[in-house]
């Protein structure tokens, strides 16, 4: 499953897609891969809620503050 997604991602990279479509697809696929590893390999899906709250909290915080920080200095996220 994970292998297939990675293969599709790399294939997409070589396809002549419009930039926006490419970015969107790649991000979506990676998010899927990310979720698979976190939810099943790391057992977050079955484990105590506390763990997922902490971890998601860390991710959301990181994304939130750096999105704002980069947008104030004219950086683009993707």
């Amino acid at each position: 499953m994970l292998a297939i997604i990675t293969a599709v991602e790399v294939a997409l990279y070589y396809l002549d897609l419009s930039r926006n479509a490419l970015v969107g697809l790649l991000l979506a696929l990676s998010a899927l891969k990310f979720a698979l590893v976190v939810l099943w390999f790391m057992h977050l899906r079955f484990d105590n809620r506390l763990f997922s709250t902490l971890f998601v909290g860390g991710i959301v915080l990181a994304i939130g503050i750096f999105t704002v920080a980069l947008s104030t200095v004219g950086g683009k996220l993707v």
Binding site: A3, L27, F41, L61
Partner: protein, 207 residues
């Protein structure tokens, strides 16, 4: 030991650590993303012929070849992803009480991890030969530091896995000690998902 929340102290510690690591890698990635639009501009002496870019691009009608080797790095990413799978199998084995199978899968995980680090060392030397150093431009600076810190995390993970292997060869890891493997696994998977993010944002998506 019974705890107030019912979860193990060490496991809670590990998740807190990983949550905190999100901010660590978030900061490194943010620095890369901030400068990615300027990778074409900065070269130490303003002479574009000495410049190194991540991917192919044309500036003032001159074509510059990018430095990334996507097929090679895809294989690396795949190797690391597979090491996560073998890590899952190692944990499953010890939870069933099968020490031998756990040792085999632990070794596989560590070996795949070492292969990834080796691949990264190869990639770094290639880039270095092509003229990309920490000093060359903002791309060199942010790329080496971000991927270097990730590589350091993988290296530490490999060391931990080998320590666990040695430890288990002395019969110290049985089914009741599976938490040790679980914690190492959490760390290992985390390092893997960081690479999923880096691979997508840095290698595949280009400005």
């Amino acid at each position: 030991m019974a705890t107030s929340t019912g979860v193990d102290n060490r496991k809670l510690f590990m998740w807190l650590f990983l949550a905190s690591e999100c901010l660590f890698f978030g900061s490194l990635i943010a620095a890369y993303l901030l400068y990615r639009g300027q990778h074409g501009v900065p070269c130490m002496d303003g002479d574009l012929s000495t410049c190194v870019f991540p991917t192919d691009r044309t500036i003032n009608g001159v074509e510059y070849e990018g430095i990334f080797d996507i097929p090679f790095t895809s294989v690396s990413a795949f190797v690391l992803l597979m090491s996560s799978v073998s890590m899952v199998l190692a944990l499953a084995a010890i939870q069933r009480g099968n020490v031998r199978a756990m040792r085999i899968w632990l070794f596989t995980t560590a070996a795949l991890g070492a292969l990834f680090v080796g691949g990264q060392a190869f990639e770094f030397t290639e880039f270095y030969r092509e003229g990309l150093t920490l000093e060359t431009n903002l791309f060199g600076t942010t790329f080496y530091v971000l991927t270097g810190f990730h590589g350091a995390h993988v290296t530490i993970g490999v060391l931990v896995l080998f320590s666990l292997l040695i430890w288990s060869s002395r019969g110290k890891i049985q089914a009741k000690d599976s938490l040790n493997i679980e914690l190492a696994g959490l760390y290992w998977h985390f390092v893997d998902i960081v690479w999923i993010v880096i691979f997508t944002l840095i290698y595949l998506i280009q400005p």
